[in-house]
């Protein structure tokens, strides 16, 4: 059971880590574009910020998977 717990923890870590990388890849493109748009018109700040957090869902999915692994399977 100890080994299982370890594997579950590693799995949870991988889920969060990889999802974080994926979200970051999405955000970097959007963030760059948002900064560009803001250079044109500062009023874009609010919308740009909002657009930038949209890929964050992916990171959150990763976190949810990790939580399910840790709290649901790790009984």
């Amino acid at each position: 059971m100890v080994a299982d717990a370890g594997m579950i923890a590693i799995g949870a870590g991988i889920a969060v880590g990889l999802c974080g990388i994926g979200a970051a890849m999405g955000e970097q493109a959007i963030g760059a574009a948002a900064v560009g748009a803001m250079a044109e018109d500062e009023k874009f700040f609010g919308k740009g910020l909002l657009m930038t957090v949209i890929p964050e869902s992916i990171a959150i999915f990763g976190l949810v998977v990790a939580l399910i692994l840790l709290f649901v399977f790790n009984v």
Partner: protein, 657 residues
């Protein structure tokens, strides 16, 4: 609420001699949204500005440049001025102001450049302090060439190879060696070459002045301080002008803005040789007031047509209408898009869901109170505008965060109530067990109840999306009829509900490896709903729509962020608390066990950690709560693209009739 203000189309026609009084009436009413006239024809052309327009804008231009130069800012506490008074003194006042201000401004700029010039000379004289000569002795020779500059090496041995007939002065200035060489012109080429080969040589220019450097410098400093005094005096004079005239300038600016607005509005009218026509929209409830006022001011000589017929919906200007409490949420709608005239205005829904999601995400009594207090402070600082709305939204969100903080039992990440964690009792700040409300035992610990809270967030998501689909159904019904509404939105509702029922029955069976409960009535209903929904969807939008089915699943899953954001924020708070408490303030469970210094480190970590987490806690839940509205909720019903209602008129602040 939920629907934009009802509008009525009005068309007003009259003779041109009445135009001015009609314009002033509408301007004072501040109600009519004027539609631009753009289709010119033989008889009707776009109107021309009233006569005083160009003069007014000229005044306005010079007034604004004066106000810019003086740095005048609007002052809310200022009283109001009578327009008649303003009008009579406008001409003379603006021209004197212009003369006084611009002449002083030019003078100041002139003084500035002269001071700069003198300072440059002072800087160029300073190196010559190192040499024992007066400034005029460096120039004015017929047969002598003079070289002055910085150099590191000794020049004498090299020069003696060329000639002995020279004079060399050496001194020091700012830790560098400086020299002045006087040599007959015949040797100039050779010396030039010699100096060019010296790497450390850099040439100095002699300022064309006379006298000993220190004496010259003193005279210059005196001149500079004279100029600076003059500069300060002019500046003080400008300050006085600013104080004396700022009230006039602000009032006149408003008066002139109003007058130019009035003078230029005929550009939106259709005019013939002798008549004009205004086409526009007015809130239906204000129509009678407008009609009465207009007839009174023109002696009943204009013709008003009330046009009840349904125009093209996209041309109707949209004014959102909400109770005061939900009004600030219109800001969030405007940031996204103005709704169309026939669409639902979701501000009132956001009034409930936005702070609710925010509250569950932040869910901490300490943070909640700080957010609410900060929002209250901003609200009292900015009485109007976007910041005020934002502060109100944040205030509500902070209150709800505090409320959920009690339910989750968290105060800056510390537990409020006693509770059991992994079989051990952990003492809360209050030292009592949480109360039980409706047989649910408080607190609901967020780390302990992940599974049930996750299900709760999915339930919130399903309800929220369903609400969006219902609103979408209504919008479609209004625009395209019942059939389209069922095909486009009803199908999705069936798929969503059916899918939820199916998964609710399937999941337990899969995890416990039981056979799929095909006979279960709930399962059956779910399957039938989902299949019917799918058929309707394909009938409505074709086979390609199958590709969209997974989006509804990811939409629902997306609501798990309500829990996830909260957990990450609570997690950071927990880490900060554990770090500072266990390592510094109370090592090995003993208060101040590591000495006062370590305890102070702990306090610093505690403070910085919570400040950072608070900032994240304002930004994260705010953005993600908004995202759930915009991406998951709005996409189900909201199209936007309406035209904003901008009435012709002006809210006077500084002038009165």
């Amino acid at each position: 609420m939920l629907k934009p203000t009802r509008m009525t189309r009005v068309v007003i026609a009259g003779t041109k001699d009445l135009m001015e009084s009609v314009i002033s009436t509408f301007h004072d009413l501040n109600l009519l949204h004027i539609t631009d006239y753009s289709e010119e024809s033989e008889t009707f052309k776009i109107g021309k500005p009233l006569k005083p327009a160009s003069k007014m804008s000229e005044y306005l231009l010079s007034l604004r440049s004066i106000s810019n130069q003086l740095g005048i800012i609007e002052n809310e506490s200022q009283g109001t001025s009578k327009t008649r008074e303003l009008q009579s003194r406008m001409d003379e006042k603006i021209s004197t102001l212009q003369k006084e201000v611009s002449s002083r401004f030019d003078e100041m700029r002139d003084l500035e450049s002269r001071i700069k010039e003198k300072e440059d000379i002072v800087n160029s004289i300073k190196p010559f302090f190192g040499l024992p000569l007066s400034l005029e002795s460096y120039s004015g020779y017929g047969s002598l060439k003079v070289y002055i500059g910085y150099i590191d090496n000794d020049l004498d041995p090299k020069l003696s190879k060329i000639t002995n007939n020279y004079e060399l002065f050496i001194g020091e200035s700012e830790k560098r060696k400086i020299f002045a060489l006087f040599i007959p012109t015949v040797f100039a080429d050779e010396v030039q070459k010699l100096l060019q080969d010296e790497r450390s040589y850099s040439e100095l220019k002699v300022p064309g002045l006379k006298g000993n450097p220190p004496v010259v410098l003193e005279a210059l400093s005196r001149e500079i301080s004279d100029l600076e005094q003059k500069y300060a005096k002019t500046k003080a004079e400008l300050e006085n002008i600013k104080k004396e005239y700022s009230e006039f300038i602000i009032a006149a600016d408003e008066y002139l803005s109003i007058e130019t607005q009035k003078a230029e509005v005929p550009l939106k009218f259709a005019t013939s040789t002798n008549a004009f026509i205004i086409d526009g929209w007015i809130p239906t409830s204000k129509y009678d007031e407008m009609e009465k006022e207009l007839q009174k001011n023109t002696g009943g000589l204009v013709h008003i047509v009330k046009n009840e017929e349904k125009a093209n919906n996209e041309d109707i200007p949209v004014e959102l209408e909400n109770p005061t409490s939900a009004k600030p949420f219109e800001l969030l709608i405007d940031t996204f898009a103005t709704p169309k005239y026939t669409e639902i205005d979701p501000s009132a829904v956001l009034f409930i869901t936005f702070p609710l999601f925010y509250g569950i995400m932040l869910g901490d009594v300490g943070y909640g109170i700080i957010v609410a207090a900060m929002a209250y402070f901003i609200k009292s600082k900015f009485k109007t505008g976007g910041l005020n709305s934002l502060a109100l939204i944040l205030f509500l969100s902070g209150i709800l965060s505090t409320f959920f903080g009690f339910i989750f039992g968290e105060f800056f990440g510390f537990p409020i109530f006693n509770m059991e964690v992994h079989g051990e009792m952990e003492h809360g700040l209050l030292g009592i067990a949480g109360p039980a409300i409706a047989s649910i035992h408080m607190p609901i610990h967020r780390f302990g109840e992940v599974q049930s809270l996750l299900l709760l967030t999915f339930a919130i998501g399903i309800i929220h999306i369903l609400l969006g689909l219902i609103l979408g159904f209504r919008n479609y019904y209004e625009d395209h009829g019942l059939k389209h509404a069922i095909l486009a939105k009803g199908s999705w509702m069936m798929i969503l509900i059916g899918g939820v029922l199916l998964i609710a029955k399937l999941m337990p069976a899969v995890t416990s490896k039981l056979p799929v409960p095909t006979g279960d009535p709930v399962f059956m209903v779910g399957a039938v709903l989902a299949i019917v929904g799918l058929i309707l969807l394909i009938a409505g939008e074709g086979f390609i729509s199958i590709l969209e089915i997974p989006t509804i699943l990811s939409n629902v899953l997306s609501y798990s962020r309500i829990l996830a954001i909260g957990l990450s924020s609570a997690g950071i708070a927990l880490v900060v608390n554990t770090l500072s408490m266990d390592l510094f303030i109370r090592p090995d469970g003993e208060l101040l066990g590591g000495g006062i210094v370590l305890a102070l480190v702990g306090v610093v970590i505690l403070f910085i950690g919570h400040v950072i987490n608070l900032l994240l806690g304002i930004l994260g839940p705010g953005l993600h709560s908004l995202r759930l509205q915009y991406v998951e909720f709005f996409t189900k019903f909201y199209e936007g693209g309406g035209k904003k209602y901008v009435p012709f008129g002006y809210k006077r602040k500084y002038t009165e009739d």
